[in-house]
Symmetry: C2
Subunit: 307 residues, 2 copies
């Protein structure tokens, strides 16, 4: 008997649905067979492949980056929303609203070249630790999802990340952590500008939003970057609703999966009321749409890779 | 002796430079070795992989499309720039300038869903014929470049198209003609919008420019879509200058190639003065930058595939 490709998945409806789907679309001559080149699978990242509580990891990066840059910006000591970050004053930070959030993201993500930014992310992610689990963020990826990505890849799938997170924030580590190369990472972006510095071409990151890869934006980005419709999509929040709709409305056999955070003991439990990773409409629609809802508590025997 | 992988390339400096480059970056243990995943090559399309004279093929599509749509737009019979198209009045069309051009592109490219547009392109490209060569456009691709793409691919390269042309205009045939799958096609785009029609999700093409993938835009798009710098780039015009600069300024061994249209007998001869595919600055810079300039006349034994 072959080894179980999904050892961290408990036997049950979710695991069966996933294995049955892969078996069906790879069975040559079968009614549901899909040729290799059309086996496109898209994965949300935050909350689907790695932890997103108590704060999106990229936002933790932004806050650390503001602190690191503060010596070059003495005015931040008295200017919101930066003062709130430097004071660790979460309520003042929240009071700065969407506008304040964008200011922090731009201050922490723009103004350098693409090469410089990749080096900054790489250095940060090697050192940062999760406040609760005290482990590097790159170890707070979901072991069952790592197995699933590998299982799909072995079965001829091309696996893409389609995240609301920053495209250049994910690329420096996506290959190492997920085995997903940079050209298969899709995310939100700021604008860049081609420039010459001392005779050498650079791409400068501008403090201007280019594209938000969330909700309606996900199918738009999938079409722009991939140019064909996935046959399987994996998400965990209402930010993935349209990606799930777009994927599973295609002809032939399709798979839509929602990772449900219902494990307060081993990770976090949140859904309809959460400010981060809110899962409400997609959860309501799952049954009618035949999307598979994965219970982290009962479907997964392990959450994170072993230390 | 192994068969020559580039049989339509005459022996000479251009062919040697290409073969030497591929040999060097694939020689394990060699000083110039590049691991497979970093072997990224980008190709311009119009004038580099297929014919672009006397008119960009996509513009021929746009003109045909305006004619096909004219019955639904009686007002076009008396409104410029549409009247000029319907009258085949090139000088009136040119008089409408950049603004007129954009109007024609939007009228011919927007207003349908992505699936509908792909079907329209597929139908058109199967029927359209080049005015001089009387062959389908998909046969007016350069045989030596087809061999080159295949040669790179066999040597572990991932080949991308990076074109000023429309991304969704190229995708319906890029796999068949070049062996380049849709997710490796990068081009100019209009915006799309996710919408629900009778309960089914669609992506609607809007009459609004999203991105122009030309000149400065090429390195920007390469970073956005691929997320790493190519080690080889192939172009034919000043629209490819920044892509060549960006590619060849990277560390390690690099290859920049310019296809020079100097064969008035078998194709067309044009460079510095041409309105289509103007090659001026990049030609001036080629020698100092060590870019390979390919003479279609003397480096290629054949231009197009045999009928």
């Amino acid at each position: 008997m072959a080894a179980d490709p999904l050892p961290s998945w408990n036997e049950g409806a979710a695991k069966s649905a996933i294995v049955d789907f892969v078996t069906a679309v790879t069975a040559e001559g079968g009614a549901d067979f899909v040729p290799t080149e059309a086996r496109i699978a898209t994965f949300d990242n935050d909350g689907t492949l790695w932890i997103e509580q108590p704060l999106y990891i990229q936002f933790a990066f932004a806050l650390d980056r503001v602190k690191a840059l503060a010596p070059q910006h003495p005015e931040w000591a008295t200017t919101q929303p930066f003062k709130a970050v430097l004071d660790n004053d979460l309520s003042a930070l929240l009071a700065s609203g969407q506008e304040g959030l964008v200011e922090i993201m731009m201050a922490s993500h723009a103004g350098n070249t693409t090469d410089e930014f990749a080096a900054i992310v790489t250095e940060w992610i090697g050192k940062a630790r999760h406040p609760k689990f005290k482990r590097p963020y790159t170890e707070l990826v979901y072991q069952p999802m790592l197995e699933l990505i590998a299982f799909l890849r072995v079965n001829g799938f091309k696996t893409f990340i389609v995240s609301g997170g920053g495209i250049e924030f994910m690329r420096p580590w996506s290959q190492t952590i997920y085995g997903v190369p940079p050209e298969q990472v899709i995310g939100s972006s700021i604008k860049t500008k081609f420039d010459m510095r001392n005779g050498s071409p650079v791409l400068v990151r501008l403090p201007e939003i280019d594209f938000i890869d969330d909700k309606d934006g996900k199918p738009v980005a999938i079409q722009k970057f991939i140019g064909r419709r996935p046959i399987a999509a994996f998400g965990n929040s209402d930010g993935d609703l349209q990606m799930l709709q777009w994927t599973t409305a295609g002809s032939g056999r399709r798979l839509g999966v929602i990772v449900h955070h219902d494990d307060s003991e081993r990770e976090y439990a949140y859904d309809r009321q959460s400010k981060i990773g809110q899962l409400n409409t997609a959860l309501d629609d799952a049954s009618a749409q035949k999307w598979v809802v994965v219970s982290m508590k009962s479907d997964w025997s392990r959450i994170f890779p072993e230390k």
